[in-house]
Symmetry: C2
Subunit: 385 residues, 2 copies
DNA sequence: CCATTAAACTCGTACTCCGAGCATAAGGTA
DNA sequence: TACCTTATGCTCGGAGTACGAGTTTAATGG
């Protein structure tokens, strides 16, 4: 009844957010980070313990002084189910407030028919609800394609067109949080990966085409309808080339397996990922030339994005990593030459993503945990304990 | 002594921020917007009145019920000096918490020598401090060029290279807040102009080259060192063209007076702005063709940025407005064709900026007021009353 | 002139966070 | 082993905020 009070759980929420972003952080460290006095820290953590949101375990003492405690997710605290829908398979995990996975699963699609696939995801939600009851408070879902208000448009698999993803949690009353897979892998990098701590980070991932996101303090720039980050459809390329997206000269057309095939005058590959890897294994002059053309296009575009956004760090995922490695000197030179002169003295580092295939799942977890650590979500949870 | 308390002035700061963003807002409206009870609103506004931060005047009653009051800047409250440094002149104004200008000035440079120009700005600060004493709490400064940590790099005027702008307030103890002119005019649009209320806004301004910014909820995306928004140096153009910035194929080379001159095989114009306007007045076939080429380049690049960032709205400033008007049908068609198909059903509106030449000054005011309405600044102010 | 309406004001209360002082659990040292 | 040092946790009283409930006030409308 007092839960509608302004800021009742505000400090508690801040503490929980810290715990979820920095698992295994000590109570003393949290207090210092938030500028809390030790008395307040005592009080607020006690409150969080009481409502089963955190558990405290003795911390191994490192220095002199009274040992502090580690803040952990409470063993009967809230959990989120995170799902990563991919072209040929889907992965799931149950994640606690401190970001650790309680269980994990990976299943191949037996069909890609939309109703069937979404049905499986829905069953996973029901199963989690069966197992965890009302401890299940959120579902985080990563999908491979363009999103607009929880609808999937332009997925990389043509079977998934104009899909309403709300059906995944329909009837369960659990909050659904959806994100693009490339965006979420960027979130994972910015939170716990190669871009950790960066104020402005640019994450790009190449599979079939390029996906990515710009992140400000770990938060992706989402756009008006959540469909931002389509850097592949900026006209960095040859204006005479028509892209499937409807525009011309898209960067996408220059940087993946289909571009390699065009340069090599091969037919459009069925599986651009496998095709790219096959070309990367070749050492003949024509293959090397084709790879160099693609690497040049990637690095030049990347430099343009760096000029536009001035990131602290750029992280690369998917095929961008082996492609860069195949012609590293060329990549680095092209990137540097594409930067404005004044940026060249301290160019943003271009790093391989730390999470790679786990990225979308980790990012979905971050998304779900961000929801669970809002003041509202905590107040609601506390009201039931 | 109690001012170090957590959140002592938090609600007060939120109220003041509302007042500065929505001048002439009523007390009742503020309370509703922040979810405050009327008792809290009474208390907090009383506190703000006591320390001379707001004044209340009776609001004209519109409906039944006891009339509320308008929240205004207090006549002896804090002020900021805002400066807009331009190529050939500089403007200044003194602004109060509710965003109204107390005085305004516009002076031509008699020389562009850096020390002299910065000296004049410094004198303006001293004069304001003379007149307003410790009521002067911040200086907002808009500059035409790339910024990095309060230093001006790559200004459009070659005389201003590697300028340390901190000299403008040196010795005065007043907080200096610097912004790029295009960025700040974007801020002005997002706060009180054509992009008001937009969650994601893209603002672009063409003078000599293109400047701009991406804004999230009225806040510009600044980048690692404050040098973001250089959209003119993304490689949307012809890779064979070398840009002064050091890179190749920059969009900048395709969209302004210098591009027109190249298409018309004229020499590089001294004053690209005047040259562009002269070409726009011509009606001969070659001039029209040149304009059409430039308009196409602008619209196509803009579409790419819209694909990448999914803005709610795009605002145009400077020469982009007459250029678009000169070939509106072509502009709109090219823009639409450059969008990804799924974006075409509801493309972001492309609007002329509402503030135009006042933009940088208005944006600098927003920047300065944002600083004055932080909790820290308010607590510091209150401690002296 | 009175009912209605919206908002301001008053007052007591719940709650948060703090500072000061004390207690405690480790490492370090003689 | 006893004592010092150090970092942290815990307890308690106090300051201060925002709230709810109830009351008052100033407008409109019939």
């Amino acid at each position: 009844m007092t839960s509608s009070r302004r800021g009742q759980w505000q400090t508690a929420a801040e503490i929980l957010a810290r715990v979820s972003r920095e698992p295994g952080i000590t109570r003393a460290a949290v207090a210092q980070a938030l500028g809390l006095s030790s008395s307040s820290a005592t009080e607020v953590t006690a409150k969080l313990r009481e409502v089963q949101l955190v558990a405290e375990v003795p911390a191994p003492s490192r220095r002199r002084g009274r040992p502090t405690t580690l803040l952990r997710a409470h063993p009967s605290g809230p959990v989120a189910l995170v799902l990563d829908l991919r072209q040929s398979n889907w992965r799931s995990a149950v994640v606690t407030l401190d970001g650790s996975f309680l269980s994990q699963d990976d299943r191949r699609h037996r069909t890609r028919r939309a109703e069937v696939v979404l049905g499986h995801l829905h069953s996973a939600v029901l199963a989690a609800q069966d197992q965890y009851g009302d401890r299940l408070r959120a579902v985080g879902l990563a999908v491979p394609g363009t999103l607009r208000e929880n609808h999937l448009l332009q997925a990389s698999a043509p079977e998934w067109f104009e899909l309403d993803l709300n059906t995944v949690t329909a009837g369960t009353g659990v909050q659904l949080l959806v994100g693009n897979d490339a965006t979420l892998s960027g979130v994972a990098e910015a939170r716990t990966g190669a871009a950790a701590g960066a104020g402005t980070a640019l994450h790009l991932i190449i599979e079939a085409g390029i996906g990515g996101t710009l992140l400000i303090d770990g938060v992706p720039v989402q756009g008006a309808s959540g469909a931002a980050g389509e850097f592949g459809h900026t006209p960095f390329g040859d204006r005479s080339q028509q892209c499937l997206c409807g525009a011309r000269g898209c960067w996408n057309l220059e940087i993946d397996g289909r571009a390699l095939a065009r340069h090599l005058q091969d037919p459009d590959p069925d599986d651009p990922h496998a095709y790219t890897q096959a070309i990367l294994r070749r050492t003949d002059r024509t293959a090397v030339r084709a790879v160099e053309q693609v690497v040049t296009a990637i690095a030049a575009g990347l430099a343009g994005l760096a000029n536009a956004h001035d990131p602290d760090v750029i992280t690369l995922g998917g095929l961008a990593v082996p492609l860069r490695a195949a012609a590293e000197e060329l990549f680095d030179r092209t990137f540097l030459e594409g930067l404005m002169t004044f940026r060249r003295t301290a160019p943003p580092p271009v790093l391989a993503a730390a999470h790679q295939t786990d990225g979308p799942l980790r990012g979905a977890a971050a998304l779900a945990l961000d929801h669970l650590t809002t003041e509202d979500a905590i107040a609601t949870w506390a009201a039931t304990r």
